[in-house]
């Protein structure tokens, strides 16, 4: 009698417990979505594993020693020359030139857009930077080889080789400029308005406010932009492949041709490359170095941005 009662109560008064209802389709979909999310981690793992595996084959080669890799200055894995420096120095030179061009220009553009420009002027000027950012890098390569190099040859005379690091670096700077300016502008406009008003109240001019108050407050964000810019410059391939030269060359002279790490990978892998050769493995060693360098730079930059956001929120 009592049992019957509870069943009756169950039927009449208790709402259906939908939580316990099995929904197989729902959980299948959820696990598919989860797999898509986790796939990105697989990609990272695959990059590290594949590059690491082949790079290990390279470093395990008895001919490749630590002393040779970091101690000599010629890179020709095919004939037993394993000095990484020529590729590293040219990467450094082109990236340095690129940052030398893009940091001041990008920062100045960002200051103008965020502190000086009227909303109307900003909406007219920003699309131009966006177009610059959307142009494929191979087109910049064409520009570097057929416009910038002849221009530099006119300015600096015959010392400028047909392929040279300066032209590639300058054009790379133009390519990175929109990135630097948009990231810096974000940082500058995140500075609270109260700081600016305070400076004006003390009688500062707009320029003094921008440089002595807003810029220091946004410095971490600008630092993040700088680091991302370096990472882009180090990983950029097509401009240097077209304009910087084809052949490792240990030099710091920007008028000379020298192949960067990325340019070297592009040239060697573009030819007929047999698997399991030392050349093939060496490319993966270079790519692994590139990946690690850019990863560290990106992580630092992201860390800076995260800290910076917390400060003003």
């Amino acid at each position: 009698m009592k049992q019957e009662n509870t069943i009756m109560e169950n039927k009449i008064f208790r709402p259906l417990d939908l939580k316990k209802k099995m929904r197989p389709a729902e959980s299948i979909i959820q696990s598919l979505l989860f797999i898509s999310g986790v796939l990105s981690i697989f990609i990272t793992v695959a990059i590290v594993y594949e590059l690491g595996k082949e790079a290990l084959l390279f470093f395990n080669n008895p001919d490749v020693t630590f002393a040779k890799f970091f101690g000599t200055t010629q890179w020709q894995p095919g004939i037993g020359l394993f000095g990484i420096w020529p590729l590293v120095t040219s990467t450094l030179v082109t990236s340095f030139i690129a940052m030398f061009v893009s940091l001041p220009l990008g920062l100045a553009a960002a200051l103008f857009l965020s502190e000086y420009a009227s909303p109307k002027a900003r909406s007219a000027l920003k699309p131009i930077l966006e177009i610059l950012a959307g142009i494929p890098t191979v087109v910049y390569g064409y520009f570097a080889l057929l416009f910038m190099t002849p221009l530099l040859q006119k300015i600096f005379g015959d010392g400028v080789e047909v392929y040279n690091m300066l032209s590639a670096g300058i054009v790379m700077g133009i390519m990175i400029l929109p990135l630097i300016s948009s990231m810096s502008e974000d940082a500058l406009s995140a500075v609270p308005r109260a700081l600016r008003e305070g400076a004006y109240a003390m009688g500062a001019t707009k320029f003094e406010t921008s440089i002595q108050v807003v810029l220091p407050a946004a410095l971490s964000g600008i630092g993040a932009a700088l680091i991302i810019g370096i990472s882009r410059a180090v990983g950029e391939t097509m401009i240097v492949a077209v304009a910087a030269g084809s052949g490792p060359n240990f030099t710091f002279n920007p008028f000379k041709a020298a192949e960067t790490m990325t340019g070297h990978i592009a040239r060697i892998s573009g030819g007929d490359l047999s698997y399991n050769s030392i050349d093939y493995n060496s490319l993966f060693a270079i790519a692994l170095m590139l990946f690690l360098v850019t990863l560290v730079l990106n992580l630092i930059s992201q860390g800076i941005i995260n800290r910076f956001r917390q400060r003003y929120e």
């Binding site: 959820q30 959307g134 990983g235 592009a266 850019t294």
Partner: protein, 412 residues
């Protein structure tokens, strides 16, 4: 701190210092603005440089005189006569090869005309001039050609023509076109989007709608942001190791009975490109999903919808324009990328249209790269024409994206 702090200028000195400060302020403002001017000038120089290369005078000679093959003027010949000339003058091996590519009888008249020019008469380009030179130094150029190449003809030529778009590759710049390259690019981008769009949207839905704030999901999010910053050539190496080598039976099509191919196919390139744009698609889709107001979700839950029903019927339809905008931007990134394709093994000389995912391929940026790095100036001219084609393609894609974005903004 500052020792001058207590000694503020007074009177006349104050005015002098004020006007000095205003002067330096306005000088710096001009300097800041000039950075933007430099950016605009660079863009203008780049576009001008490209257009300048795509048009201009070209001096060329006929290696073999047309009168050796026919008594009529070349332009007056009809299709049958052109065919006869080709049959009698081409070696039988060369003729058979052409016939195998496409039956000679089925080719159009202009096709045959080009073949006669290309194979028999053989145009020999001596020199090309840029558009600016051709316009402003026209008489000098004519004098120079008359002196240097007495037999040569000089004509003002637009390298970018409708024929350029519809002819396949050729080893001679005068007859080369971008047909195979455009088709290759479209195939590759299609595969990339088919691969990356569903997975990317799925990942974005998971991260925005399902994921709780635990360690794993934070790692996924950081990882996606980092993947977006990995150099494209590293993706190329990944594609080479995984899609070209490890998955060769699948990507070469030998699993499906295709025999004449290695792993360097459109499919490998498309999957590599899909991996490259995946983080971009995820980040953009996340932004789009974030922009859907929470009230929509609450309302759906309120009438008893499950989480997936809410996502499928309310969140996704509202986020769709944003997701599409993001994928169009991803497409335009993929169309312009060159480095991974070089690594994955784009062939540079392909004169046949790609037939399917297991064909060898070339792509528009690959052709631009190849032609730019050639020494002869006529190849630079067709590189410039190909760049114009690429830029127009990208411009129309981006315009579509902007239009879509504006429609979304109007809605909320």
């Amino acid at each position: 701190m500052n020792p001058n702090r207590d000694h503020y200028p007074k009177g006349e000195a104050l005015h002098r210092s004020l006007s000095r400060r205003y002067r330096s302020a306005s000088i710096w403002q001009t300097l800041f603005f000039s950075a933007l001017v430099i950016a605009i000038l660079s863009l203008a120089a780049l576009l001008y440089n490209v257009v300048d290369g795509a048009f201009g005078y070209v001096a060329f000679e006929y290696k073999n005189d047309p009168s050796e093959f026919t008594s009529k003027a070349l332009d007056d010949l009809n299709k049958q006569e052109l065919l006869d000339i080709l049959t009698t003058n081409l070696s039988s091996g060369a003729f058979k090869k052409l016939d195998n590519e496409k039956a000679m009888e089925k080719r159009s008249k202009s096709d045959l005309y080009t073949l006669v020019l290309e194979r028999l008469i053989q145009i020999d380009t001596k020199q090309t001039w840029s558009m600016t030179d051709s316009i402003f130094r026209s008489s000098e150029i004519k004098a120079e050609v008359a002196k240097k190449y007495p037999d040569a003809k000089l004509e003002f030529r637009s390298w970018l023509t409708p024929v350029f778009l519809t002819t396949p590759m050729s080893s001679k710049a005068e007859f080369a076109g971008v047909r195979t390259a455009i088709l290759g690019s479209l195939w590759m981008v299609g595969i990339a989007i088919l691969f990356a769009l569903p997975i990317g949207t799925g990942a974005a839905i998971y991260l925005q709608e399902y994921a709780s704030k635990n360690f794993l999901n934070r790692v996924i999010q950081t990882n996606i942001n980092n993947l977006a910053g990995v150099p494209s050539i590293v993706y190329g190496m990944l594609g080479l190791a995984i899609f070209v080598r490890a998955l060769e039976p699948f990507t070469s099509g030998s699993m499906f009975g295709v025999t004449d191919s290695n792993g360097r196919t459109i499919l490998s390139a498309g999957l590599t490109m899909g991996t490259l744009v995946l983080p971009l698609i995820i980040i953009n889709a996340q932004e789009a999903i974030k922009a859907v107001p929470d009230s929509l979700r609450q309302a759906a839950f309120g009438v008893g919808a499950t989480r997936w029903q809410t996502v499928w019927h309310h969140v996704l339809p509202n986020a769709l324009p944003g997701i599409l905008t993001g994928s169009i931007l991803a497409v335009s990134r993929a169309i312009g990328e060159t480095a991974p394709l070089i690594v994955v093994g784009a062939s540079t000389f392909i004169s046949l249209d790609p037939e399917g995912p297991f064909s060898k391929f070339t792509a528009l940026p690959i052709q631009i790269y190849q032609w730019t790095t050639r020494a002869q100036s006529e190849f630079h001219s067709i590189a410039a024409s190909a760049i114009i084609v690429l830029l127009i393609l990208l411009l129309s894609l981006n315009a579509t994206a902007v239009l879509l974005r504006n429609r979304v903004q109007r809605k909320y």
